[in-house]
């Protein structure tokens, strides 16, 4: 039928795994914003949710690294991490291989992508799902943009991937929601974990809310690495979401929460 929802959110493993170590005055409003996004998402009654993620070597590796990939299975397992470490129990998430196949076929009209009939979810998808789908009722179609193993697809290509996802969502009879998850500035899994460039993040979110393609794709990877860390490469997923939504965005929450190793944000965009 159409794209019915677009939202973006943070996904760091500390958000669940180290939730008890975070200051409640920061953590609780962030979790409340996540829960509000859950309600808004479910209110659109999606038949499936495309989750545009930046996975962390759960499936794809430098032996054969796709810039863009979409899952095509009837079910997905996660998390790959130790469930006690992540504090998210293992679950099987429902997929829809036939729907994936139709979406992939449309995306392929303009984007060279890989499809995957096997896909294990890591924290990049499981942390958002733990908030957005605690009852495990949604049908999920995972999509991935390589943000880990350079060389990475240029930002303009991430925008084009988002455009293709929108065209595909509009082409199928099902109601499709899109959730993109990534970091803005962060230096995860390093001794610098917790460092956040708040000014850079606020400027990125301003550009995202404007849905301004030129501003969103103006960053070079060298600039992003210097100003926003290797975690900043994940803006690709957020840029794809903006391209899919086409409309202005609203940032519902943003705050650096160092123990979560990232600036934490929740935002949604109008479908235009």
């Amino acid at each position: 039928m159409s794209l019915v929802f677009t939202g973006i959110c943070s996904h760091g493993p500390g958000i669940t795994g180290r939730a008890d170590l975070a200051p409640p005055e920061l953590r609780d409003p962030f979790f409340a914003a996540y829960h509000a996004m859950r309600d808004a998402l479910h209110a659109t009654k999606p038949d499936a949710v495309i989750i545009v993620a930046a996975e962390h070597f759960a499936n794809f590796f430098m032996n054969n690294m796709p810039s863009f990939a979409i899952g095509m299975a009837d079910g997905y397992e996660g998390p790959i991490e130790d469930p006690d470490w992540l504090r998210i129990p293992h679950r099987t998430v429902r997929g829809d291989a036939a729907l994936s196949r139709r979406i992939i076929a449309e995306v392929q009209q303009t984007v060279d992508l890989s499809y995957a009939e096997e896909w294990k979810f890591d924290h990049g998808i499981m942390v958002p799902l733990s908030f957005l789908d605690p009852e495990n009722t949604l049908t999920v179609i995972p999509a991935n943009i390589n943000c880990q193993g350079p060389p990475l697809a240029p930002l303009a290509r991430a925008w084009a991937f988002g455009e293709a996802l929108r065209r595909a969502a509009d082409a199928v009879p099902e109601r499709i929601a899109l959730v993109a998850t990534g970091g803005i500035s962060h230096w995860p899994a390093t001794p610098d974990s917790g460092r956040v460039n708040e000014a850079w993040d606020r400027e990125f979110l301003r550009r995202w809310a404007l849905n301004d393609r030129a501003l969103l794709t103006a960053y070079t990877d060298a600039e992003t690495y210097a100003d926003a860390g290797q975690g900043g490469f994940e803006i690709r997923t957020l840029i794809a979401a903006a391209a899919a939504a086409r409309g202005p965005g609203t940032v519902h929450f943003f705050a650096p929460i160092p123990i979560f190793s990232t600036g934490c944000f929740i935002a949604t965009a109008e479908i235009a």
Partner: protein
């Protein structure tokens, strides 16, 4: 230096329960399947998280390996700092340290 082989070992270990069981039973036998230098092999078997970090293993792969080895978060961060102190700056990849050796950005 065979950072690709070293990374591949950890990548496969992180996502394959059967390989994890094999590694727990006989880590050296699993390491023998990969073309590692002696330094890399030793870092995996010890395990020396700090040296693995300095060798350039992607932080996302290393973080998952540390979790598999039941290393607590604060200890994991400190092991990387200690690795840089002992072995010098990160030699490869995009996960270089930008904070000071005694700086704890998030308090841990």
């Amino acid at each position: 230096m065979s950072l690709y082989q070293l990374s591949r070992l950890l990548f496969e270990l992180n996502r394959d329960r059967a390989l994890q069981d094999a590694f727990t039973a006989d880590a050296a036998a699993v390491a023998d399947r990969y073309a590692l230098t002696e330094e890399e092999r030793g870092a995996v078997l010890q395990p020396d998280i700090g040296l693995l970090y300095v060798l350039g293993v992607n932080g996302q792969i290393l973080m998952h390996f540390a979790a598999f080895r039941q290393i607590a978060w604060a200890d994991y961060l400190q092991m990387m700092r200690d690795g840089v102190r002992q072995h010098g700056p990160v030699r490869d990849g995009v996960y270089a340290m930008t904070s000071g050796l005694d700086e704890k950005v998030a308090g841990v």
